[in-house]
Symmetry: C2
């Protein structure tokens, strides 16, 4: 009945429980098959004059929740994007590295002088398969509901592929999708879409194995991660990434300087532009969908950062700072930014411009160093856009709740509405062991104000490397934050989800409540543990053990108002 | 080294770890001994020109963290308030019920025509021992730091007993302290003080035992609960409460209608004013410090509530609604409000005016029913103040983040700045299994805007009765929310706490980090599990397993900026 984590690579019908089924929605412009999870409800719910006996849900789990899929980690997932007739993109083989993909394909890049980025195509007025794909995904087959729905007199429109194109052209949204990642199910990041979340995985020199890392990626997607960053820093870094990419239905991000640093034996001073560039090319050919690049930390900012309580807490930022100080030269990720953009353009890799000077403590929040860098990130955004490179901007960090809103206001202003992608922010420094929650608190507020993607934080933050259960907790808690922000922004599908949940709760439809919860497996398990004597008849109980039958407010409320 | 939960009733030095020690601060007006937890730091930290080699912390654990205390659950805690020379209060024996306290004392009440409430004394200009006690507690022996501290040019003043008196007189703060609860260590609830949290405990007809409930109360205080509500609804309700009260160093709240309903066999229609009144008197003589009373739900509001998605989700509210409907009469807690105030005044019991119509779903948030009741709560506040009864106002519930602020604005306006005490709010309906986090998200925002106390929610909310670990999680997560709100409000002691924590983090002072964490036991345990080979030499590691030695940003940042 409950789903065990053991069958992660053996998809079966019960991935989320017996009432959930994998479905695919066809594209109308392209031969797409957009995967969703359909929940069959135990009865029909009527909301704002629409009836629902089932509810399609946004689904990030890819083929792993499709019982007809065969998973072979050695071969990777099916290359679904190959079938989409993307004739607009002129490409040629790319042989910048010695990379031999697991999937047996030859890496490709844009033809000379050409561009394959979603932004380039969007600006030319072309609606790509990826744009149609994400429009279908965002609507969850609820177009009719969305058109009928209103909150306080406000009405809404479904997402159209043309709207996606317009947002991508404008730079307000990105679709991270390297042309060498054909296994990818596209998704969109931007303030006018559902708030997304990223899960970081990655071994460090001290822990974990490759197999574990692939499992963590799939595990994160199962619980709802929209993208995954592979932050591995140890040995086998290339192979780990290859396995993750070939088996990932979501965009994969990396911080290439980590691998570059490994290539020079961990000695920051020995980094060169050439080593870094070759690392970008190697990862580009593998299919990495977005790169965190710390181009915005300039050597002039370092004295300001030195006066902080916690200095530079970005790993990439601290590497660059060491390099700048040793060489007494400007950050090479800044001076070579044009060449970086040319590489990104050739593979359609989005840039996530790193905030090397994000505050690592409440005391450093919203300081001169942070905002000086943010302004530079805005300048770099305009430059990347000249190359039609898709951009998002990374954000803090540790920020007290009263200073959170200013981060969003300034980011929108300085960075021309490029999507904001933040780590939290954490709203206190003393939450060790509970920093996933700390992050969700700041993240919910920031996302409700326009932040497009939240990077998860796990319970192990500041203490150690997260294990599998930490990844699950981190993902679910940030899904909660993202969903709460969607509600605050008035997203119609988010409202529908909550409305059906609450109607199910008020009518004691326990199975529907489980299936509609962010973590159906935990909700079902805890409820059953709490009523062991009820066994399978749980649907019939019109109360729960919190209050018992005589004190159930919902039961009494119904009796009082019938 | 780590503290086991087994020794809860056998206090020893290591309650929070080896560097924490119980200390007592003397009063200057009265012979008070205000308990705090003093952390000895591993080195001296300098912040804004002040030096700290130790840090006193606010402490809710009472004698349970004092190794010299002898705990005897059958006798209860020492009656500390007896020694405070509270000659201002004229009392006489109270024999309204057959109650025989465990501590062998005779219950007392105000002398005829007299008043013993903190508000009454405050309005007469009297600074009581309780007022001095809470002033000392709030400052944490950091008066000098507070006077020197500034954020962005703003300066601060320590809390004085006179300021407490003024806030209590004004109704903007309360000190819940029944004169029959001499074991109590007073605390203050109000928007100009540290944000407080409450933990609910209580057996339902379906679970748990008396011994377990006392343990839960002490356990909740250990982790930081400022007050505890005993929401028991099953059998042995009187005896459970007696054990909790006699062994609780914090204020105890109840919802008396639960016991009244037990007296009429669970049939709401059979409730009478007389049965309810006798229940109030019985609990008043036991020493309950505050009562939740649902006086604000009027029968005119019921048709409005009937149109809601989730009706009435307050247990007390749904009982009253059933009674009103059956008798076609106005809520007897409204019609008898004057008599209720007379009882509360005689024992100095604060009233927590219940929000029977709090929204139980996102769809019902900030609706007509909720705000109609809130206005009534404001009217009742003024009436209670006529009797010098201390008042707080209960709040939602389920509210999307964008509607949270309006709750605070209206509460301040309608309820004349009486302290707001809220359950969350939860910012989505779909968080089952994670509703403690859901609640902390809404709660942090509301508290940062002025909410004075947050009622915790545990991970089991909506699913079952919380166990011991659920209580711990619920308490810590809401302490995090309360502390984050204190930071947002610029509380100097909260800032100092975070600043020392971050300085310790940046200097790899691991033991200090553990001791300064909200949950020192978990932080220490996880860190050690993550570096098993380091054993006791953990203080010497200048990195953690998250990044490993080559990728530690703090290490590199220091090297880059030295």
């Amino acid at each position: 009945m409950t789903t065990s984590s053991d069958n992660l690579f053996c998809p079966e019908q019960n991935f989320y429980g017996p009432a959930s089924k994998k479905i695919y929605v066809d594209g109308s412009l392209y031969p797409l098959k957009v995967g969703m999870r359909k929940i069959t409800l135990s009865k029909t719910y009527t909301l704002q004059e629409s009836s629902f006996s089932e509810l399609p849900m946004y689904d990030t789990s890819g083929p792993y929740s499709d019982p007809s899929a065969k998973i072979d980690l050695q071969k990777g997932l099916p290359c679904i994007r190959d079938t989409w007739q993307t004739q607009q993109k002129e490409t040629r083989p790319s042989n910048q590295s010695s990379h031999k993909p697991l999937n047996g394909r030859t890496p490709i890049r844009a033809a000379e002088g050409g561009s394959v980025t979603q932004m380039h195509l969007a600006r030319k007025g072309i609606v790509t398969p990826e744009m149609e794909y994400v429009a279908i995904r965002e609507n969850q087959m609820l177009e009719e509901w969305i058109e009928r729905f209103s909150i306080g007199g406000n009405t809404f429109s479904p997402v159209t592929a043309e709207f996606v194109r317009d947002e991508v052209a404008r730079g307000r949204a990105i679709i991270p999708a390297n042309i060498n990642h054909p296994e990818l199910e596209p998704m969109v990041i931007g303030k006018n879409f559902r708030v997304k979340i990223n899960a970081n995985i990655g071994n460090s020199a001290l822990g974990s194995s490759i197999q574990e890392e692939v499992e963590k990626a799939v595990w994160a997607c199962r619980w709802g991660a929209d993208t995954v960053m592979d932050l591995s820093t140890g040995s086998n870094i290339h192979q780990t990434r290859e396995w993750i990419l070939r088996n990932a239905p979501v965009p994969i991000g990396t911080v290439p300087i980590y691998q570059a640093l490994e290539k020079v034996g961990g000695v920051a001073e020995e980094l060169t532009w050439e080593i870094y560039r070759d690392t970008l090319l190697e990862q580009a050919e593998q299919g990495v969908d977005y790169f965190t690049i710390h181009s915005g930390i300039l050597k002039d900012f370092l004295p300001v950062a030195a006066r902080r309580m916690t200095g530079i807490v970005s790993r990439g930022g601290s590497i660059i700072a060491k390099w700048c100080r040793a060489h007494k030269r400007e950050n090479f990720l800044y001076t070579h930014f044009d060449e970086i953009c040319e590489i990104l353009r050739a593979y359609d890799i989005a840039i996530s411009i790193g905030d090397a000077l994000r505050p690592g403590s409440i005391a450093d929040a919203n300081d001169e160093a942070q905002f000086a860098e943010l302004k530079t990130l805005g300048d770099l955004t305009l430059k990347a856009w000249e190359y039609d490179v898709q951009v998002m901007i990374e954000g803090p960090g540790h920020v007290p709740l009263n200073l959170v809103a200013e981060n969003m206001t300034r980011q929108l202003e300085y960075c021309h509405e490029a999507p904001f992608y933040t780590l939290g922010p954490l709203v206190t420094d003393i939450g060790a062991g509970y920093d996933h929650i700390n992050s969700a608190i700041g993240g919910t507020l920031l996302a409700s104000l326009g932040c497009a993607m939240l990077c998860y934080v796990t319970p192990k933050e500041h203490l150690g490397l997260p294990g599998k259960e930490d990844v699950r907790e981190g993902v679910i808690v940030h899904k909660l934050a993202a969903h709460a922000a969607d509600l605050a922004k008035g997203n119609p599908t988010a409202w529908l989800h909550d409305n059906i949940m609450s109607t199910a709760r008020y009518s004691f439809a326990w199975e529907d409540q489980f299936n509609l919860s962010l973590d159906p497996v935990k909700a079902r398990k805890w409820r059953k543990e709490s009523s062991p004597e009820q066994g399978e008849n749980i649907e019939e109980e019109r109360f729960c053990t919190m209050c018992g039958p005589d004190f159930c407010s919902m039961k009494k409320s119904q009796e009082a108002t019938e």
